[in-house]
């Protein structure tokens, strides 16, 4: 009865996801109450009359008991209503739909960089364990991991944009291309392709290179490190000897047999680093004037724009949970033992 087994597992998964989301909501909500910023002031500013203050306070439901406020919030969220952002005075959902694709584009590009460089680097390091390629990759990884990212970003801009003119400046596209393509997905490169605007596409891609490269360096370090350690585990395994006994070339032994076996834990690592890229790109976004989710959440928090913070956090959390789920599914797909 594998069908039923899957159904039970699926239901369990759904329940745990639902609980996690509820917990997420509760924690976000509590944070909103704990931050020592008066939300009313955040809405109406500092110089309003006492009447306006009281009115807005009531409008925001701040006079209700805490648990009622929470229930109200959960109810709204369940109806897809994240409220209105104070900062932009638009529905939070709309804002997020605008900023999230920007982050998604940047993080995805960074992840591509991270995976394309990190995995081969990690494999090389493991294969040459203890010899210079290992040390070199380790040190480069550590450098990528330890340098403050805004510093690196600014220096990269200074060198590649201001001095060498190899890269375009900050922003997602040149100003004049701004608004040329209608946002369908919100991911400019994709939108440009959809609209057939190759100029815009190339321009957007160009703009992506530098920030994605810098951000990618961060995940390169992590991915390479984890790949190395998984790989070392696998290379010790007996089936690797079997493959060698068969007379297979070392390349095939490593890339087909060993890598096939680390694919599983590696998807988890990649998913995790994707999640952290989505959330942790604030400084890159600042330096490269990239209006993304990280920046949005941080700014909102600083402005006590709790609707926006809650919404943004919920999205990040949902993405995280989604990625977890995805890596779970991939795990089942890639590892026959888990099927």
């Amino acid at each position: 009865m594998p069908g039923r087994r899957h159904a039970i597992r699926g239901a369990g998964l759904l329940v745990s996801v639902a609980l996690t989301v509820l917990g997420l909501l509760l924690v976000t909500f509590l944070i909103g109450r704990v931050v020592p910023i008066d939300p009313v002031i955040a809405v109406v500013g500092d110089r309003v009359s006492a009447d306006t203050y009281a009115r807005v306070r009531q409008e925001l439901g701040l006079d209700l008991p805490l648990w009622q406020q929470f229930l109200r919030y959960v109810g709204d969220v369940l109806q897809g209503d994240f409220g209105t952002s104070v900062l932009t005075s638009r529905p939070v959902l709309e804002d997020i739909l605008r900023v999230f694709p920007a982050t998604l584009e940047l993080a995805t590009a960074a992840l591509v960089v991270g995976v394309l460089l990190g995995i081969p680097a990690g494999v090389m390091a493991a294969v040459h364990r203890g010899r210079w390629p290992d040390h070199l990759i380790r040190v480069i990884g550590l450098i990528g991991h330890s340098i403050p990212i805004f510093w690196l970003g600014l220096m990269a801009l200074l060198v590649f944009y201001a001095r060498l003119d190899w890269a375009p400046g900050p922003g997602r596209v040149d100003v004049f291309y701004e608004g040329l393509v209608d946002p369908v997905t919100g991911i400019i490169t994709a939108d440009a392709l959809l609209a057939g605007e190759t100029d815009v596409f190339w321009n957007a891609l160009h703009h992506l290179v530098l920030p994605a490269g810098i951000l990618g360096l961060y995940s390169v370090a992590y991915i390479a490190r984890m790949t190395r350690s998984f790989m070392l585990d696998q290379l010790r395994q007996e089936y690797i000897t079997t493959a060698r006994v068969k007379g297979m070339s070392e390349t095939r032994v490593i890339w087909r047999h060993a890598l096939g076996n680390i694919a599983v834990p590696l998807t988890t690592v990649v998913a995790l680093s994707y999640a952290s890229l989505l959330e942790g790109s604030v400084l890159t976004e600042t330096v490269f004037a990239w209006p993304g989710l990280g920046l949005y959440i941080t700014n909102s928090l600083l402005s006590a724009d709790m609707n926006a913070v809650l919404g943004g956090t919920l999205v990040v959390g949902a993405v995280f949970i989604g990625l977890n789920l995805l890596s779970d599914l991939l795990y089942r797909l890639l590892d026959p033992r888990a099927r």
């Binding site: 079997t242 007379g247 297979m248 076996n261």
Partner: protein, 282 residues
């Protein structure tokens, strides 16, 4: 036993540099293998596996292998370039390892692994490779080859896994098979069946075989000739049928300490190790 040996080993030494100095795993082992079943027995750590692995140059990294002679059908295995060596591995010498649980790639289907072993050494297409693999599975008496072809290693039992290992190692039709404790993870009855398969394949193809084991009774009943190793040396060589008449005190000690079904001894004799065994001849 044939006149021209397949494999000649002379003064094989394997050492591992460790934190506390150099460990000699194998110290001057010499033997030859023809088209016969050669058994290597000895205690744990006596260097059996290392000897087997050295032949295929698969001693793990810090290990250093030296020998006066290590040649296979006239080719010097020690100095052969990596690429030529790969032509020998699997194709002409192959090795069955102890535990199918660890020795098969867990994320590849059994069929793919066997077919791969075949295709590494031939220009056969996928269809041909599959056909050969199925034939081979049948040869090791797997009942439903088509079904097993698509299974993953964790989906088969230990005995079946060991047969699959054997199929995989024999598909390129090698001249010499090294079997490193191929049945020690199996139940006695299954072990018997697997050995029977190997026995049959060996004799039908005229293969040479090195059978590494610590089970003296088994080796005595299965092999033609036996090397007894102690601490990296061969202390005694004898015909299998003459094992029970072995003279070396070490061999005698091992034999005596085996419990027997018809045992009535109040106490099993314990091996009394003699330092002079370490200097023992080749």
């Amino acid at each position: 036993m044939s006149e021209t040996p397949l494999l000649e080993v002379e003064n094989l030494r394997i050492s591992f540099p460790t934190r506390t100095g150099v460990t000699q795993a194998v110290r001057g082992v010499s033997f030859t293998v023809g088209r016969e079943k050669l058994g290597i027995v000895g205690e744990s750590g006596s260097g059996k596996s290392m000897t087997g692995r050295a032949i295929l140059r698969l001693v793990p990294p810090p290990g250093v292998v030296t020998a006066d002679r290590l040649s296979f059908q006239g080719e010097d295995l020690l100095t052969l370039p990596e690429k030529r060596l790969r032509g020998i591995r699997g194709r002409r010498i192959s090795m069955v390892m102890q535990d199918p649980k660890f020795s098969l790639n867990p994320v590849m289907t059994i069929g793919a692994q066997i077919a791969e072993a075949y295709r590494v050494h031939s220009s056969a297409g996928t269809v041909e490779a599959k056909r050969r693999a199925l034939e081979m599975l049948e040869a090791v008496r797997i009942r439903n080859p088509e079904r097993v072809y698509g299974l993953y290693p964790h989906e088969v039992s230990g005995g079946m896994g060991q047969r699959i290992m054997i199929a995989m190692m024999l598909i390129p039709n090698p001249d010499l098979l090294i079997a490193d404790e191929p049945t020690s993870a199996l139940d006695v009855t299954v072990q018997m069946q697997v050995l029977a398969i190997m026995d049959e394949l060996c004799s039908s193809r005229g293969m040479g075989m090195i059978f590494v084991s610590h089970d003296l009774n088994l080796v005595a009943s299965f092999c033609d000739r036996i090397l007894i190793m102690y601490a990296g040396r061969v202390v005694e060589t004898c015909r299998a049928s003459e094992l029970h008449a072995a003279k070396h005190p070490y061999t005698r000690g091992l034999l005596d300490s085996l419990p027997r079904l018809d045992d009535t001894r109040a106490e099993l004799p314990v091996l009394a190790r003699d330092p002079s065994w370490l200097e023992g001849g080749r």
